[in-house]
Amino acid sequence: MERVTQLEYDEERAADMHAVAEARDQAALTRLFDYYVPKIRSFCLAAQPGANLMADDIAQEVMIRIWNKAHTYKPESASLNTWVFTLARNARIDYLRKNSRHQSDIDPEFLWQNVVDENADPFKDAQQKRDQERIQQGLDKLPKDQKQVLAKVYLEGKTHKEAAEELSLPLGTIKSRVRLALHKLTIYVKR
């Protein structure tokens, strides 16, 4: 039951996104703001606890990018959530790059540009939905310790090494937890 509602919400947001792209609909943008800004803020605060100003800046920046880049969003190659996650990730990297001790000349814009998929595939949409479902359902069933490590890496922006130090666990343990988790989510298949 819950999943159906979730899907309906996802579809509403997809419609809002469409209205932003096609009709420059600010009311739709406001709804997206209400939904995503708290998530983007907590994504930023996970990496830098207490940095509310940074979280506000990044959240605004991401919403501006959503508005400005609306026409580049392709629903058939990524879900809206995935697209917003990648925007938030890139904005966070960019912010940290410009404002921290890890100053760097590498412009992240060049590193995560969506690689144009040359073999566009009519089944891609279906494949994408299937992967999405699998990951979502798998994630709900993951043991806590595996989920915790994934959260460190994804939300707190820690590398495997840093996660190991923080949890006082050997790097090997962290690696195997992540691998197990990715294996269950059918993301990782041993080559």
Binding site: F33, K39, S42, A78, N81, H102, I106, V153, Y154, I187
Partner: protein, 232 residues
């Protein structure tokens, strides 16, 4: 055919955005050549989006943030040319050779590898620094003539090598365009470039050592070999 890929940990850190930028540059260059890793990144980003979606949010009034956002939006010019991608596409093909500069490197190399400031370390070995990360990694291109040896070297940190053009081999295998090779500090290797073409690689050195120190280290064996009183 690409045979050497980043580890799943590296791909995960890349998709999550926690991998250092210098390393991300190598991964990004690799996936331009590698469909398989592109697929994995796509799924890893999906996973990221679910974690992002499920993360707890605090109950905080956002009305003032919203006001300032819409004010900002009103002040910015409406983006023009909505159908055009916003990054201008640099010509993909270099004009004086057949090399194609990877998209990820076009922030450093506009049209040709020849434009870089190459430093000749031996008749067959050149290096060009793209940039040094403050207190972090060193990002450089190496260019070695067909059939030549690269200087034997060890490193104190990790070294990532990404083959851009040509091929080389060492004790453990043959590496071709797109291959991603990660060596740790304990590894000592003696790469040789294949005889058919020169080899250009992107390298990232996690460098607790100074640039000069690293250079000297590279230069030492060459200088020794070329010295007129060398015992060899």
């Amino acid at each position: 055919m690409i045979n050497y890929h980043p580890s799943i940990e590296t791909l995960t850190d890349y998709a999550a955005g926690s991998l250092p930028l210098a390393h991300s540059l190598c991964v990004s260059t690799h996936i331009e050549h590698c469909q398989e890793c592109q697929q994995q990144i796509r799924k890893l980003e999906m996973l990221g989006s679910h974690l992002f979606e499920q993360a707890k949010t605090e109950n905080r009034r956002l009305s003032s943030l919203k006001d300032s956002f819409f004010q900002k939006l009103a002040e910015q010019p409406e983006p023009v040319d909505l159908d055009k991608p916003e990054t201008s596409e640099v010509p993909a093909q270099s004009w004086n050779d057949d090399y194609r500069i990877p998209r990820s490197l076009r922030q450093f190399i506009k049209s040709s590898y020849d434009d870089l400031n190459w430093m000749r370390l031996s008749p067959s070995f050149k290096i060009a620094t793209l940039y040094n990360e403050e207190g972090g990694a060193q990002v450089a291109l190496t260019r070695v003539k067909a059939g030549a040896h690269m200087p034997t070297h060890t490193h104190t940190g990790d070294e990532i090598t990404l083959v851009l053009e040509g091929a080389f081999s060492d004790e453990s295998g043959v590496y071709r365009q797109g291959d991603f090779i990660n060596r740790d500090a304990s590894h000592k290797h003696k790469p040789i470039v294949t005889k058919d073409a020169e080899c250009i690689c992107l390298t990232v050195l996690d460098a607790p050592i100074e640039f000069t120190g690293w250079l000297t280290r590279l230069l030492n064996p060459i200088i020794r070999r070329h010295h007129p009183y060398s015992p060899q």
